[in-house]
Symmetry: D3
Subunit: 165 residues, 6 copies
Amino acid sequence: MSEKLCVFPGSFDPVTIGHLDLIERASRLYDEVVVAVLHNPAKQGRFTVEKRMELLAKACAHVPNVSFDHFEGLLVDYMNARNARVVLRGLRTARDFETECQMAQFNLQMAPGVETLFLAAKPEHTHISSSAVREIGMFGGDVSPYVPASIAQEVARLLKPQPKR
Amino acid sequence: MSEKLCVFPGSFDPVTIGHLDLIERASRLYDEVVVAVLHNPAKQGRFTVEKRMELLAKACAHVPNVSFDHFEGLLVDYMNARNARVVLRGLRTARDFETECQMAQFNLQMAPGVETLFLAAKPEHTHISSSAVREIGMFGGDVSPYVPASIAQEVARLLKPQPKR
Amino acid sequence: MSEKLCVFPGSFDPVTIGHLDLIERASRLYDEVVVAVLHNPAKQGRFTVEKRMELLAKACAHVPNVSFDHFEGLLVDYMNARNARVVLRGLRTARDFETECQMAQFNLQMAPGVETLFLAAKPEHTHISSSAVREIGMFGGDVSPYVPASIAQEVARLLKPQPKR
Amino acid sequence: MSEKLCVFPGSFDPVTIGHLDLIERASRLYDEVVVAVLHNPAKQGRFTVEKRMELLAKACAHVPNVSFDHFEGLLVDYMNARNARVVLRGLRTARDFETECQMAQFNLQMAPGVETLFLAAKPEHTHISSSAVREIGMFGGDVSPYVPASIAQEVARLLKPQPKR
Amino acid sequence: MSEKLCVFPGSFDPVTIGHLDLIERASRLYDEVVVAVLHNPAKQGRFTVEKRMELLAKACAHVPNVSFDHFEGLLVDYMNARNARVVLRGLRTARDFETECQMAQFNLQMAPGVETLFLAAKPEHTHISSSAVREIGMFGGDVSPYVPASIAQEVARLLKPQPKR
Amino acid sequence: MSEKLCVFPGSFDPVTIGHLDLIERASRLYDEVVVAVLHNPAKQGRFTVEKRMELLAKACAHVPNVSFDHFEGLLVDYMNARNARVVLRGLRTARDFETECQMAQFNLQMAPGVETLFLAAKPEHTHISSSAVREIGMFGGDVSPYVPASIAQEVARLLKPQPKR
């Protein structure tokens, strides 16, 4: 297994500037970063997995050593399939921490070589989340401060509620 | 700056099995791990910095790619002096997280290339701390479940209260 | 925009004695208090927005400078429409705080003049929530310690499960 | 009301080794332990209440003074029906605490003699939950480290996704 | 070891109405309650251990099955000396919980039969602490809402700052 | 008592850009803002109360409706002396919240008209504190991103460690 490759898993529904900052920072720490979109069949996302990957690719066009993938099921199975051992996750709040910490502990027990490394979000990003972006956009608010500039218009358009009939 | 070297700073007053587990895990993720004992002139430790480094060296004798150092002052200055960019820290509880997160955010602002990566403590280590070890030892309790086996006797002996007069 | 008017938004599904205490305290701090029921089309409440407003009006009959309204969509749009700049919210627990803080930070960014001011719930109200009232009432428990006296009977009657068939 | 009997309520969907540890510890503190499965008609469990009780009984076959029951509605009504005054609950994280604390405070107000006593989970169990077991099992991961040995195979088989078609 | 006896350890510097409520509740759950004042030689209290015990005895004069003691060193040693296995502690906030939980986990590991049972403070007591009482009293504020009526005057008098010279 | 005046109490040892932002925001919500430096005789500050007030005055020179004061003892006594009823405080983290909430609850009980209103710190300020500024400055780090520009040089100079002998 390689410790030069890191996998950054998540829903990215859609990618935010907080995610992008973490991806950029990861790209300076690892030779290769794989952003892996979790496809959860039990929980319909707002965007399709394909659209999320497309938005990620546009947002990260300037990051040389990043690639995109999607997976379903357990993260540890995906990690083994990729021969990867480093999971990277961002932390924003104490609440995030408890959930993330439990997942990292499970993953380490299920696949002893698989380590989760956490990066603290920058202070100015700690309140930003995909769900906040979806809610602001759904009600016609301005999402552009929260999503990468290269995809802001598209995300706004896709989230905007359609006029009824 | 090298991303193959990580610095694991702390007080290690004394090193616990929680610390040792993190050092071992770090040694599998990085080519070189520097355990750096913080010498805080304003806060007298229970053990001298020299003794803490000696205990660390004994506890980590089986870890090939680890070395020991000490520093005073700002961590970012030490990181620059070592030409290192990865700080590694463990997280145990939500309370840890808030303090650690703020330090990581400051360090990233003060030295933009310096990233702090966090590892979640193993569940069975989440309650263990140097201060708990000191308190248990000071009152004659058994510290051996909480410090590495190779130093347990010495730590117990050093912590044991001296008979008065 | 007026800083003499405050808007107290919420679901109020139904109003509790915790809410009433905050409204009374707000009425002594601002010339005019607008209690604004959020109508969330994506999340069916237990009571209709009309019934929630009716219960609020009964519960607050003794508060001279309060009025009631409802809104849909972003709070900042409602604030602008009302020419208001002060949002008032109660805080009960550390968990409340993280959610509320993020919303306040978003609202301040989306509408720079719109400030959210938080009041700490009284200690004896920190465990009370509309959802707890609904659950207690649904199973035939006594909700009267938790909702204003003037509406306790009506709330109990409306929450009581109907005999099947 | 008897203080020699304790009721350990929960969903147990399914029972984990964390639950079993708490039941064993409770059995040494009280003459009689009643494990009471909450049947929540509004929230479909993964296992039926009957199956959850069956799994509990198998897992606790070695505990002499434990019995199993199920209930619907308010815990305080069940406590009164059983003439019991001690509720026992486990605590794992700070987040657990806020929710549990509020329920205990409500129950004490609704039935003044009914006290909730909390036991801290062992450190090595703090990350384990029924929902994590369900998710791991659903994706074919190994649940055996997290459920009692006597039911591990059955739980794994029941959680395993059925081949489609 | 007896599970009919519980030990309620603490600093009680001085006893508050929150402590008294917990002692009263404990006295209804256990045949015998021992309130044990921790004497920490490293941390000078505001009241002597003797005065703290005297204030406790006055405050609890109406509780039949309670006695008072003091101890120094590890709680588990005291528990063994008393042949007791149940420690009782109150919980007020999420912050309390982390500290208390770690101590309970250590105590269970150091003395496997010694269990810590937690009671949630009543909502109206969650903000009350000995340190708040000391600070309010030191600046001449009214401590009577926070300490038992039978000792309020004495506590106020003892905390009041002496006129200088 | 006037609800047009707010008191912003704190240690301000020294004032940070987080404090300044809150003062500016308060100045737009209240006719008059009094920044009140707490003089705690039991806890020596890094700067004298006089110097802290001088630094505050320089930092807030552009804020028309703010004045500066200092007090010792209970905040509620100071509020009564000023005939003020609104305390303003900032909140940064969940940990802040618990402490602040308890103080607000005490103050409301001790002086029923005195309300504490909380403002959430801006995301980019949530990690900034006077103690972090002191520590960074003491070790020769750059404090200028964290203190108002008008006082940055002076604060840096005053915090800088003196060459020994």
